[in-house]
C-alpha cells in the first residue's frame, strides 16, 4: 500500500491547487480555464475516494494518525461536493472582481484538503494541523473582497479564530500530558482505565477547552460572536463555503475525538449534558436573533447558529449504551449532509440575486418571483427544507435527530427543538413570502449565468432527490457512524 494512495484524495485536490496557481501565473491567456481545473481536481479526488469504496480499502495509515474508514469516506465525498458547488458559484464573482483568479481557487482547494484531513485525522497533532490548514486560508478568503467590510470580517475571523485555536491547543496539551500519547485511541484507552477516572477533573478541564475551540468552528453559543459579522462581511461565495464546510468538518472531528478518546462512560455523560445545554441555548439565541435581522447574510449567520444547535442534539443523544450509542452520531452525519445541500442551495441563489440587485437587504428581495422565477423557486425549496417541513430532506434529518434525542431521554431538548423549528419557520418563510407576494423594486429580469445555474441545480437536485428517497443518505450516515460502535 503506497503512501500516495493513502492521501490520494487530498493529493488530487492539492495538485489541482498547484496547477491552478501555475496556469494563472504562466498562461494568463488561459485564465478562464482555472475554475475548471479546480473542478477536475475535485472530481479526481471523488473518484479516488470511490475506488477505496470499490476496493473495500479501509485501513489505518501513518502509524494510526489517519484513519481511512467509512466515516472519513462519507466526509471526503461531502467536502468534494461542497467545494465543487462553491467553485461553480464563485466563477462569476471572481471574474467580476477581476484579480487573483489562481490564488482564490488555490485557497479554496487548500481549505478542502484541510477539511478532508480533518475528517480522517486520528491524532491530536494531525487534527491541529488539519484544522489550521483549513482555517488560515479561510481567514484570507473572508478578507478577500475589496470593500472595507470584507477586510474587517477577515481580521475579526482571524483574531477570534486564533484565540479559539489557542484554547483548543491547551486542551490538547493537557490530554497529551495526562495520557502520554497524541493518538486518539491511546487516549481513549487511558481514559477507560481506572487512571482515567482518577484524573477526571483534568479530563473535564481538557474537555471544556476542546469544546471551546471546536465550538468556535461549529458556530455555537457562546462562541458565536464572529458568525453574523463574518457572514455579512465576507464575500458571499466564501460565506457559503464556510457556513457548510468548516461547520461540517468541526462536527466530524468533534464526534471522532469525543467518541474515540473521551467516550468512557463516566465522561460521556458529562459532555453529553454540556452539548445538550449548548444545543438548547444555540437554537434559541440563533432563532430569536435571526428574526430581527434585515440583512439576509446576517440572518443566515444567526440561522446557522440555530442549525448548529440542531446538529448538537445528536451529540447530546449518546447516553444510551450499545447500538444506540451511535444513533446520535449518525443523526449528526445525516443532518450535516442535509444541511450542506440545503444551505448551499440557498446561498447560491443569494449569490445570484445579490450580485444582480447589488444589495443584501431582505426588503430588496420582495417580488423576486416576477424577476427570477427559477432562483425564487430554488431558494424557496431550500427555505422549506431548512425549516424542516415534510417531505424535504431537512425534515427527514430533523425527524431522525429528534428521534435519537427522544431515545436518549432528552425529551425536553426535543421539545425546545420543535418549538425552535416553528420560530425558524417565521423568518425563513417570511423571506419566501416577501419574494412571492411583495412588489418588485425594479422590473428588469434577474438572469443567471450557466455556472450559477448549474451549482443551484446540483444543490437543489440533492435536496429534492434525498427528500424523495432519503434512505441511501441515511444508510450512508449509519455505516459511517457504525465505526464507533465496534469499540
Amino acid at each position: 500500500m503506497s503512501g500516495l494512495d493513502i492521501v490520494g484524495p487530498q493529493f488530487a485536490v492539492l495538485l489541482a491547487a498547484g496547477a491552478v496557481l501555475m496556469v494563472d501565473a504562466l498562461m494568463p491567456q488561459n485564465r478562464r480555464l482555472v475554475p475548471y481545473i479546480a473542478l477536475l481536481g475535485l472530481g479526481a479526488s471523488a473518484i479516488w475516494t470511490g475506488t477505496w469504496v470499490a476496493r473495500d480499502n479501509y485501513q489505518e495509515a501513518f502509524h494510526g494518525t489517519l484513519s481511512l474508514d467509512q466515516y472519513a469516506v462519507f466526509f471526503y465525498f461531502l467536502f468534494a461536493g461542497i467545494t465543487a458547488t462553491v467553485v461553480l458559484a464563485s466563477i462569476d464573482w471572481v471574474n467580476q472582481e477581476g484579480r487573483g483568479q489562481g490564488e482564490y481557487y488555490a485557497l479554496v482547494l487548500t481549505v478542502c484538503a484541510g477539511l478532508m484531513f480533518l475528517s480522517a485525522a486520528r491524532d491530536l497533532i494531525t487534527i491541529f494541523l488539519a484544522l489550521e490548514l483549513s482555517s488560515i486560508p479561510q481567514y484570507i478568503l473572508a478578507g478577500w473582497g475589496k470593500d472595507r467590510r470584507s477586510s474587517e470580517a477577515g481580521l475579526k475571523y482571524l483574531l477570534l479564530g486564533a484565540i479559539a485555536s489557542a484554547l483548543l491547543l491547551y486542551g490538547m496539551a493537557l490530554l497529551y500530558g495526562l495520557t502520554g500519547t497524541t493518538l486518539l485511541l491511546g487516549i481513549g484507552e487511558f481514559v477507560a482505565s481506572p487512571a482515567g477516572e482518577a484524573n477526571r477533573s483534568v479530563l473535564v478541564l481538557a474537555m471544556a477547552l476542546l469544546i471551546a475551540g471546536f465550538g468556535f468552528k461549529m458556530a455555537i453559543v457562546p462562541f458565536q460572536m464572529w458568525v453574523p459579522d463574518v457572514y455579512q462581511g465576507a464575500p458571499t461565495p466564501v460565506t457559503a463555503f464556510l457556513s457548510v464546510g468548516s461547520k461540517a468538518a468541526a462536527f466530524a472531528v468533534v464526534i471522532r475525538i469525543f467518541f474515540e478518546a473521551l467516550g468512557a462512560d463516566f465522561l460521556s455523560s458529562d459532555w453529553a449534558n454540556v452539548f445538550a445545554g449548548l444545543a438548547a441555548v444555540s437554537m434559541t439565541v440563533g432563532n430569536v436573533m435571526a428574526i430581527v435581522q434585515t440583512d439576509i447574510k446576517r440572518m443566515f449567520g444567526y440561522s446557522s447558529i440555530a442549525q448548529a444547535g440542531n446538529h448538537m442534539i445528536g451529540l447530546a443523544a449518546i447516553s444510551v449504551a450499545g447500538e444506540q450509542f451511535t444513533l446520535g452520531a449518525s443523526g449528526v452525519l445525516l443532518f450535516v449532509a442535509a444541511y450542506a445541500f440545503t444551505n448551499l442551495g440557498a446561498w447560491v441563489a443569494i449569490i445570484a440575486i445579490s450580485q444582480k440587485i447589488g444589495s443584501d437587504q431582505i426588503k430588496d428581495y420582495a417580488g423576486m418571483w416576477k424577476r427570477s422565477p427559477v432562483l425564487t423557486l430554488g431558494l424557496a425549496v431550500c427555505f422549506v427544507s431548512l425549516t424542516g417541513i415534510p417531505p424535504t430532506v431537512g425534515f427527514w434529518a430533523k425527524l431522525y435527530i429528534f428521534n435519537a434525542g427522544i431515545r436518549a431521554d432528552l425529551g425536553w431538548l426535543v421539545i425546545i427543538g420543535v418549538l425552535n423549528s416553528v420560530v425558524s419557520a417565521y423568518y425563513y418563510l417570511g423571506v419566501a413570502r416577501q419574494m412571492f407576494t411583495g412588489d418588485a423594486e425594479g422590473a428588469e429580469k434577474v438572469r443567471t449565468s450557466p455556472s450559477i445555474g448549474l451549482s443551484l441545480g446540483v444543490a437543489t437536485f440533492g435536496v429534492l432527490a434525498f427528500s424523495i428517497v432519503p434512505i441511501p443518505l441515511i444508510t450512508a450516515a449509519r455505516d459511517a457512524a457504525d465505526i464507533f460502535a465496534q469499540r
Binding site: 484570507i140 472595507r148 477586510s151 477577515g154 475579526k156 483574531l159 490538547m172 500530558g177 502520554g180 453574523p228
Partner: protein, 110 residues
C-alpha cells in the same frame, strides 16, 4: 550543584508557569483594543502551550517522548503562518479605515 537545582524545580513549577502565561495571554487577547495587541496575547497563549507541551514531553515516563516536542515544532510553524496572515489583514484594514482599534472596526452591526 546545577543538578541539585533541577531536582528542586519539578514538573508542577513548569506547569504553573505555563498556566500563568496562558492566563496572561488570554487576558491580553480579550482586553487589548489594538488588533496587534490581541495578536500578541494570542502568541503568548501559544507559547504557554508550547512550554506546557515541552514540560510534559521532558517529564514523560515514556522511553520515546517525542510527540510533545514534535507538536511544539508544528505549533511554532502554524503560529508563524497565522501571524503573517494576521499582519496582512491588519494592514488591509488599516488602509481602509486608518485604524486597527478593534472597538472602532465596527461596520458590521445589525
Amino acid at each position: 550543584m546545577s543538578a541539585l537545582f533541577l531536582v528542586t524545580i519539578g514538573i508542577e513549577n513548569f506547569l504553573a508557569v505555563g498556566a500563568l502565561l496562558f492566563a496572561l495571554g488570554f487576558a491580553i487577547a480579550l482586553s487589548k483594543r489594538n488588533a496587534i495587541g490581541v495578536l500578541m496575547g494570542v502568541e503568548l497563549m501559544l507559547n504557554a502551550v508550547n512550554l506546557t507541551l515541552l514540560t510534559f514531553s521532558r517529564f514523560s515516563p515514556s522511553d520515546r517522548p517525542v510527540a510533545g516536542a514534535t507538536f511544539v515544532v508544528f505549533v511554532i510553524t502554524v503560529a508563524a503562518a497565522e501571524a503573517a496572515v494576521a499582519l496582512a489583514l491588519a494592514v488591509s484594514v488599516y488602509r481602509n479605515r486608518d485604524t486597527v482599534d478593534v472597538d472602532k472596526i465596527n461596520l458590521l452591526k445589525s
